[in-house]
């Protein structure tokens, strides 16, 4: 018994299961959003506050987890090489590891608050430099993959929703399932073997221009497109069964317009909920994709830092990802408002 949020024509069947739908989006005066500055600012401040708490919690949790992990920092710095009390004493002195753990933690927080991420134990360089160098290539990859993945998902779902062309729908749906269940590692190797090694269309490695970005982005985008496509199609199917679609069709709207202007809006809500998941996939996937394609990036840095127990770098990556999550979930909340006018009321 749904209603079309984009087409708030009123409550035909009289059951008030959802809030009264507002007027069409285009009829909503833009300035209504900023009508009362004071009340608009408070949620923003609250958001910033929770964001800071999330960052602190993430940093602390990571700190504690690394502290609880077997072996101490000296072990990981010494590695599998020569190990003697004399060598250990030097390492302890160099990094100030003889201070109580609470002091080290507070010192870390203090420096973090001042934007000082410390020095990498393993790489002997400032963490800000280590992470900063690698941020751009990963952002490029993630952005390209996200755009491509969402575009593919939209195409696949909009092209096959409803009951038209059942065979195409079946083929697309199966492909999506296969993509979701295939490890990106394998997708990457197959793409590389065929398109790079066999046919020489794309270079294998590095962050060197657009051609080198294609295969990694596709590798990362395919599983995203797979899952997102399934969710979108499901949402579209549900929306197309709703009465407002019949109304829209009866108004003589073209089927494509019904799909894009009305049904898609419904289907987008659950998809936007997946933004956090998308961020996780991009971050986790970049570890594997960068390894396979020999690309620089945060994924590589994270992998090296975690295996080497390079605490300052791990912590920096955790804090950075937490910040990313906060950003993405805020963006998702804003996107809800854009998509569904009903939510702007509350």
């Amino acid at each position: 018994m749904g209603r079309d949020p984009a087409d708030g024509r009123g409550d035909r069947d009289g059951t008030r299961l959802r809030p009264e739908p507002p007027a069409r989006l285009r009829r909503v005066p833009r300035n209504r959003l900023r009508r009362v500055p004071g009340t608009r600012l408070r949620p923003v401040l609250r958001r910033l506050g929770t964001g800071a708490v999330v960052l602190w919690a993430a940093a602390t949790a990571a700190y504690l987890a690394l502290l609880a992990a077997p072996g101490d920092t000296v072990d990981s710095i010494v590695g599998d090489g020569a190990d003697s009390p004399q060598i250990r004493a030097q390492v302890v002195a160099e990094w100030g590891l003889d201070r109580p753990e609470v002091v080290q933690y507070l010192d870390y927080l203090w420096r973090l608050a001042h934007g000082d991420l410390g020095r990498s134990y393993l790489l002997q360089r400032p963490v800000a430099e280590v992470v900063g160098d690698q941020l751009l290539p990963t952002l490029k990859l993630a952005l390209a993959a996200a755009v491509l993945g969402v575009a593919l998902a939209l195409l696949a779902s909009a092209g096959t929703a409803g009951s038209r062309r059942p065979w195409l729908r079946r083929v697309t749906s199966t492909t999506e399932l296969v993509l979701v269940s295939t490890p990106p590692f394998l997708i990457g190797i197959v793409l590389l073997s065929l398109l790079s090694f066999r046919f020489g269309l794309f270079p294998v490695a590095g962050d060197r221009g657009f051609a080198a970005l294609v295969l990694p982005a596709v590798t990362l985008a395919l599983p995203i497109a797979g899952l997102l496509g399934q969710v979108l199609r499901d949402g579209l199917d549900r929306a197309l069964d709703e009465p407002f679609v019949v109304t829209a069709r009866s108004r003589g709207l073209h089927e494509r317009a019904v799909l894009v202007r009305h049904a898609l809006r419904h289907a987008l809500l659950p998809a936007v909920t997946l933004a956090g998941w998308l961020f996780g996939v991009l971050l986790g996937g970049s570890v594997i994709v960068e390894q396979v394609f020999g690309r620089p990036g945060l994924g590589q840095v994270t992998l090296t830092a975690v295996t080497g127990k390079d605490m300052p770098v791990v912590l920096a990556v955790v804090v950075l990802s937490a910040a990313g999550y906060v950003l993405v979930s805020t963006a998702a909340d804003l996107a809800y408002l854009l998509i569904d006018p009903r939510l702007r009321r509350s």
Partner: protein, 549 residues
């Protein structure tokens, strides 16, 4: 975890073999490799895909054998090893040892300049050693290689003297090692991140580090002023190549694919599964060389049962058919080791070949004698109700050459032939260190790529050694190691290390040597001058490489 990893690599190997195999076959009839490199030629650019991105570009901090091929591009040492393991001059012109063995006087070349224009002289050498002994700079070098160094004296600009606290021939090995490489004194003073290295930490080598893109590549360009190649090099004067780029490709199948598709001209690190692919392609060549130092071996912890009993140690060795195990894991690409010293080392003693191993009857008889006569429900031997379990702890970040798979093969072998329970765990570095320092292990696995095997043996077997996981307190062993370190005459040293191997491998059965680590380089047949560093056995620098026109 090991199971999934194995499946993953099996699937991958099959897949890439299928995909690449078809590519290889279509490119021409297989046959003998054609040499298209021609005579040495100046100019050109090469791309070399390597497995390991160095943790640091500062040679003083060197700790990865896989990064050695990079070091000698831009840095050089005072001495180097020739093919027979003898020391020959490089940035030095010669050295003299005092009759009491307590000082080494090294004469230096006078025509060498660093990439930043600084002059190479005795003061520079002293600055390097002083830097190495700075607290917190290179603790492992200061504590091991420079343990017996008292002082470095500048005699005159072209002469430097190393004064020792006790006779130590390994100081010469230090002078030929990456840690002993000469860094410009100006870099030592002004580099932004000295310990990390980079374009502002320079040496005297035939190539200048041009750029470093972390996670991606290292770029070198020719040093046109270079004219001080060591006698072991294939030519003199500047390098043949104008530029060389090392690209980091961690996946072996990706490296091989990049080579077969011509995107790179050389790759380092070709696993056994991919070697037939290279060998079957007439436009590619596979080069292989054994590393020096110590063989990859299992060291038995003799400080507690069951390996405090030499019969159990012998039984463990006899329970493994090493040849069969190596064939199963590495096909026919691994070279079996018979001694703790690598067969590539000048100190390797052939006497032990065929003297032990692959004898289940003897293994079982020895275990019976040692009192491990019971059997539990799972078929393992027991004694006083305790199972014959020995633990091998491997640190995941340092597992290479599929040594985790090799451990599983040994595990199956000792279980089947003698009822020994080898418990293998692949864990993080912290857990591994805890187990090792807490003496909660019975087997320790290790190989070291030192150019002088004596340096490796000091660390692994001396009762004061920094990685003595045998936990031996053997006065005779200490005496042999100390004498080996203090004896200058190569002939006599060989004799001492032969006695040592007799004690470690034969008499005491402290180790089960498994294989000699090797390095592989696969290259396009247009690339000439591919070789390995003499004695070390790792891929050589790019100095002698050229690319055919």
């Amino acid at each position: 975890m090991p199971a999934t990893r194995r499946t993953r690599s099996a699937v991958l190997a099959t897949l890439t073999a299928l995909l690449l195999g078809s590519a290889g076959c279509s490119s021409g009839a297989s046959g003998e490799p054609v040499d298209a490199a021609g005579p040495p030629r100046s100019g050109g650019t090469l791309t070399w895909a390597i497995e390991t991105e160095p943790i640091t570009l500062n040679p003083h901090q060197y700790a990865q054998a896989k990064a050695r091929l990079l070091v000698w591009n831009s840095f050089e040492a005072l001495l180097t090893h020739d093919r027979d393991g003898n020391l020959v001059p490089w940035l030095a012109t010669g050295y003299q040892v005092a009759p009491d063995g307590l000082s080494y006087t090294v004469a230096l070349r006078t025509d060498v300049t660093f990439h930043d224009g600084e002059k190479f002289d005795a003061a520079a050498v002293k600055a390097n050693v002083d830097q190495l002994r700075q607290p917190g700079y290179a603790p492992a070098v200061a504590a091991v290689q420079l343990r017996n160094l008292k002082d470095v004296e500048v005699v005159d600009p072209a002469t430097v003297r190393f004064v020792l606290t006790r006779p130590d021939v390994l100081i010469l090995d230090f002078l030929a090692s990456p840690q002993g490489a000469q860094v410009s004194p100006r870099s030592l003073r002004t580099a932004a991140n000295l310990k990390a290295g980079g374009t502002d930490v320079v040496g005297t080598g035939p190539f200048v580090l041009d750029g470093y893109a972390p996670g991606q590549e290292l770029r070198y360009r020719k040093n046109p002023a270079y004219d001080w190649a060591p006698p072991t090099a294939g030519h003199t004067g500047p390098a043949h190549l104008d530029r060389i780029t090392y690209r980091f490709l961690k996946e072996s199948s990706v490296r091989v694919g990049a080579l077969t598709s011509g995107q790179v001209q050389l790759v380092e690190g070709v696993p056994a599964t991919d070697q037939p692919l290279i060998a079957g392609n007439p436009t590619l060549r596979l080069h292989r060389e054994l590393n020096s130092g110590s063989a990859y071996s299992y060291y038995f912890n003799v400080s507690h049962p069951p390996f405090d009993d030499v019969r159990v140690r012998r039984a463990f060795r006899d329970a493994v058919d090493v040849d069969a195990v190596l064939r199963a894991v590495y096909q026919d690409t691994a070279t079996r080791a018979w001694s703790v010293v690598s067969p590539a080392s000048r100190f390797y003693d052939k006497r032990f070949e065929g003297s032990y191993g692959g004898n289940p009857e003897r293994a079982n008889a020895l275990l019976d004698q040692a009192g491990w006569t019971g059997r539990d429900a799972a078929g393992y031997r027991t004694k006083d109700g305790r199972r014959l379990t020995v633990r091998l702890v491997q640190s995941a970040p340092f597992v290479r050459d599929r040594r985790d798979i090799l451990a599983q093969a040994v595990q199956a072998a000792v279980r089947q032939s003698a009822g020994i329970d080898l418990a293998v765990s692949v864990v993080d570095q912290g857990t591994a260190t805890e187990a090792l320092n807490g003496n909660r292990y019975e087997v320790f696995d290790n190989s070291r790529a030192d150019t002088d095997a004596g340096a490796a043996l000091n660390l692994l077997l001396h009762s004061q050694g920094a990685i003595n996981r045998v936990r031996s307190r053997d006065a005779e062993l200490d005496r042999l190691l100390d004498t080996g370190q203090a004896t200058g005459d190569p002939q006599r040293r060989t004799g001492i290390y032969a006695d040592l191997q007799q004690r470690v491998v034969a008499d005491q059965a402290f180790v089960l040597p498994l294989y000699a680590p090797a390095d592989q380089v696969a290259a396009s047949n247009r690339v000439g001058g591919v070789g390995f560093e003499p004695t070390a056995g790792v891929p050589a620098s790019a100095y002698d490489l050229w690319i055919g026109g």
